[in-house]
């Protein structure tokens, strides 16, 4: 019996939350000394339960007063009858408190997400997409999210824009995950985007770059494929578009670009992993980037990130003739892989695509180069085949960490060599 009494008393106390429903805050304009005295008198009326936020002191200085709902009428009549002008600063105190609470809860959730987002594990498409919003929310004024199109299965194609202002500044394009099974690339993309946002204003190189250039970063370049690697086939590479007249699905998005399209470094069979597609830019995932870059008109560098093989390459893939900027591109690649190796000793090879890996036609990098983007590079991240596409998540952060100086080398060079 006693226990029930105690419980109900506690319960009652817990429910006895003070509420400010209908309370208003009035700003009172004091005109003379007499009005000061009148307000001081008001203060003495305890039954009104008035709460002066700003005490009445002297003429010309406003006084702020919170009035509980039951006392509102009385107070207003008092002020009006004495010719004391006032205005309603807050119409309903409780409403304001409720909104404030909502904002606090929201930011707490976001706080939870940024501090609990695990950069050392692989995430689903939804998790990455939700994290994009977190990054934007945490770095307003630096990062924004734009949609450049839709995938075959109508998923949004999101690009993060890193910009400190200006109008159509020279830009760097980065993409990861164009081949969905290369999971370390999307994971590296997330880490790198975060690093870019965090280091602006702290790292002199990144600050110099972002103070004069914009960065556009597409982390999940092939969302349909990525979703498929989670739901059905971990080793899916291509898009998920339906091919007319074939039971085989998908086009290789890195053979679908209009640079040497249809050449021997791609396949005409829809069932092939390097199927070029029915025509150049047939894939919306590719076309969206083409339209974006051409529409932008001021993209100076493009870095497309793949895995695996540990290579850093530049054009051409579709022909063996050296690119006009071969020497400069080669030297920069050498510097970048040396700085990458300096972190953990990871060895990369480098050179043109055709020399380093194999002939490949219709690649992102060749298209970019032939469309005015001089500094076009493609990375093949870890490893060299021991785990291949199935790289253990424990290697995500080391991979991202070592790749960072290489990316920085390229971006700095671009920034220092405007054209």
């Amino acid at each position: 019996m006693k226990l029930i009494l105690i419980f109900s008393a506690l319960f009652g106390a817990a429910l006895c939350l003070e509420t400010f429903v209908g309370h208003q805050v009035l700003r009172i304009k004091i005109k003379n000394e007499e009005q000061v005295r009148k307000l001081q008198f008001l203060e003495t009326l305890e039954h009104l339960k008035l709460d002066f936020w700003r005490d009445p002191t002297k003429p010309g200085h406003p006084s702020d007063l919170r009035v509980p709902f039951p006392s509102l009428q009385a107070v207003k009549i008092f002020l009006e009858s004495h010719g004391i002008p006032y205005s309603i600063m807050i119409k309903d105190v409780q409403q304001l408190l409720d909104e404030e609470k909502k904002i606090m809860l929201l930011s707490k959730e976001q706080e939870r997400s940024t501090s609990t987002f695990d950069f050392a594990s692989y995430h689903t498409l939804d998790e990455i997409y939700s994290w994009l919003d977190t990054l934007v929310a945490n770095h307003p004024g630096l990062v924004s999210k734009i949609q450049i199109g839709e995938s075959y299965e109508k998923r949004p194609l999101y690009v993060l824009k890193f910009s400190t202002g200006g109008s159509n500044r020279p830009a760097i394009w980065l993409d990861t995950g164009i081949h969905s099974r290369e999971w370390v690339t999307q994971a590296t993309g997330v880490w790198t985007a975060n690093k870019l946002a965090e280091d602006y204003g702290r790292d002199p190189s990144i600050t110099a770059i972002l103070d004069s250039m914009d960065i556009f970063f597409e982390i999940v370049t092939n969302p349909d494929g990525y979703a498929f690697t989670h739901s059905s086939n971990r080793l899916w590479r291509k898009t998920r578009s339906i091919n007319a007249g074939s039971s085989c699905i998908g086009v290789d998005p890195n053979r679908n670009w209009d640079a040497g399209f249809g050449g021997s470094g791609s396949s005409s069979s829809p069932c092939s992993e390097t199927y070029r597609g029915p025509y150049a830019h047939s894939e919306s995932e590719v076309k969206s980037i083409v339209d974006f870059i051409l529409g932008h008109g001021n993209v100076k560098a493009l870095i497309s990130i793949h895995s695996y093989s540990q290579m850093l390459m530049f054009p051409y893939g579709y022909k063996s003739e050296p690119a006009p900027d071969f020497q400069e591109l080669n030297e920069l690649a050498e510097k970048a892989v040396n700085d990458l190796a300096a972190v953990y000793g990871t060895k990369y090879t480098y050179g043109s695509i055709i020399d380093t890996i194999y002939v490949a036609s219709g690649t992102t990098v060749d298209w970019a180069y032939e469309n005015g983007v001089k500094y076009s590079y493609t990375f093949e991240l870890r490893d060299t085949g021991r785990y291949g596409f199935l790289l253990p998540s424990s290697q995500i952060i080391p991979t991202a960490t070592e790749t960072w100086p290489a990316l920085l080398d390229i971006m700095l060079h671009v920034q220092q060599h405007p054209y």
Binding site: S121, Y122, T229, H230, R234, L235, R237, S247, C248, D252, S267, C271, S272, E273, T274, S309, Y358, G385, R386, Y387, G388, F389, L390, L391, P392, S393, S394, Q395
Partner: protein, 158 residues
């Protein structure tokens, strides 16, 4: 060569038959130094499998996240060695194979002292980018070594 804390250099001379495209390349190799002695680990694994009540069955090694449970490491090492044989037999100067994943492995009961495993593996061919399912039957004994008694390319799952 594949060992966590030690690196051994190996030089090999690989001759591709330009005339007969279906012949496996000629390989002459030299190992500098000595390979680590694995007798203890081999016997431990051998006895563990021999004493299993039911035949070992496993799939997706590594899993999607690159994880390999510690007790599956020897199964993986065996597959790695056996796939080396399969890869060698099917290589030419336009191919670059890697073992991508063990899709499925099933132990086959034997009355003799050998261990037998029926593997379904996925090979990744780096030039065509194809993922090729391959079946291989592997015989192993700690003292007698490894043998791939059967292997065949499987149709690709559409």
């Amino acid at each position: 060569i594949f060992e966590k804390d030690s690196t051994v250099n190996c030089t090999a001379e690989v001759l591709y038959h330009l005339g007969n495209k279906n012949a496996a390349p000629d390989v002459q190799f030299t190992i500098e130094g000595e390979l680590k002695n694995t007798d203890e680990a081999d016997n431990l694994f051998y006895n563990r499998i021999k004493s299993l009540k039911n035949e070992l069955v496993a799939e997706n090694i590594p899993d999607s996240y690159g994880n390999v449970p510690p007790e599956m490491e020897p199964i993986r090492a065996l597959a790695w060695a056996a796939s080396g044989y399969v890869i060698w037999k099917n290589s030419n100067e336009n191919t670059k194979y890697q073992l991508a994943q063990i899709k499925h492995v099933k132990q086959v009961k034997r009355s003799d002292e050998y261990l037998e495993f029926d593997y379904m593996i996925l090979l990744h061919e780096n030039v065509s980018q194809e993922i090729i399912p391959w079946q291989m039957t592997v015989l192993w004994h700690p003292q007698h070594g490894i043998e791939v008694t059967q292997n065949s390319r499987q149709p690709k799952h559409v």
